[in-house]
Symmetry: C2
Subunit: 157 residues, 2 copies
């Protein structure tokens, strides 16, 4: 990918506050909204979700997930030209006693400061999604596969 495309990719992930999460629910796909905070290298994503929510139960049964961010429709946009990125990965819970927990929590709260109160709720859990692959669509008919290495490169833009 060229430098401009890498920059576009990094910006989309960093600036879009809503992500779509795909989980497996009884073997079928299920999509829900999540707030996902990227690691500096864009290869890990942190989500803080309630055990009472279906998507949380889903990832506890099968860790395979997908995340997607898309450029916002301003109402006038040519929708097929909107940039979007999908990643696939595996989710694992980070327990509060895990040595990586404080840093993951900080990354998440840096992105979503208003979410701090949720860390006092007993049903909420922090998960790390490690990227295995993905797909980037920079407009109609401009699509390409993504590797963790592409994301790492994009993170330097």
């Amino acid at each position: 990918m060229d430098t401009e495309t890498l920059g576009k990719l990094a910006n989309l992930i960093r600036e879009t506050r809503q992500a779509s999460l795909g989980t497996l629910h009884n073997g079928a796909p299920f999509v829900s909204m999540v707030l996902a905070a990227p690691s500096k290298d864009l290869c890990s994503y942190y989500i803080h979700i309630s055990r009472l929510a279906q998507h949380t139960q889903d990832v506890l049964v099968d860790p395979r997930v997908s995340l997607m961010w898309m450029e916002t429709d301003d109402g006038s946009a040519d929708l097929q030209q909107l940039t979007r990125v999908s990643i696939t990965g595996n989710a694992s819970e980070i327990s509060v006693t895990d040595p990586t927990y404080p840093q993951a929590r900080s990354l998440y709260l840096e992105r979503y400061p208003a979410s701090e109160p949720f860390f006092t709720f007993v049903d909420f859990r922090l998960f790390q999604i490690k990227v295995t692959g993905g797909r980037f669509v920079a407009g109609f008919a401009r699509a390409g596969d993504l590797t963790p290495s592409d994301l790492r490169q994009a993170s330097q833009r």
Copy 2:
């Protein structure tokens, strides 16, 4: 669901032009952006997608899909309060010779008039997604399951 919630649900589906599609890709979830046009009763959704796209190949292998619409983040929003709706369903291709094709095409183009040129592309196909169930989140901790009957009721608002 009360009348106000049903109205909110119908509006979200009717007014949000971008949907997130969840498909099964080699057995794992994959999320991508689609334009989805609802039927009048909100129990079917029409998507017009390219055979060259991964999500199209996915639904040809396994018809189980999920669609999700979410209220747009205006940058200041309390994200957990944003309304979102997820449906699950089965996708099937509507061939151009199918008696329901003209009406499905009209519904789609009524919603996405700028997409007309795509109907001249040989790789594009029209699919109908029939709803089997869903989930509606009308803000933090205000979630409930959805049936096709709930959607039919919402469509009358």
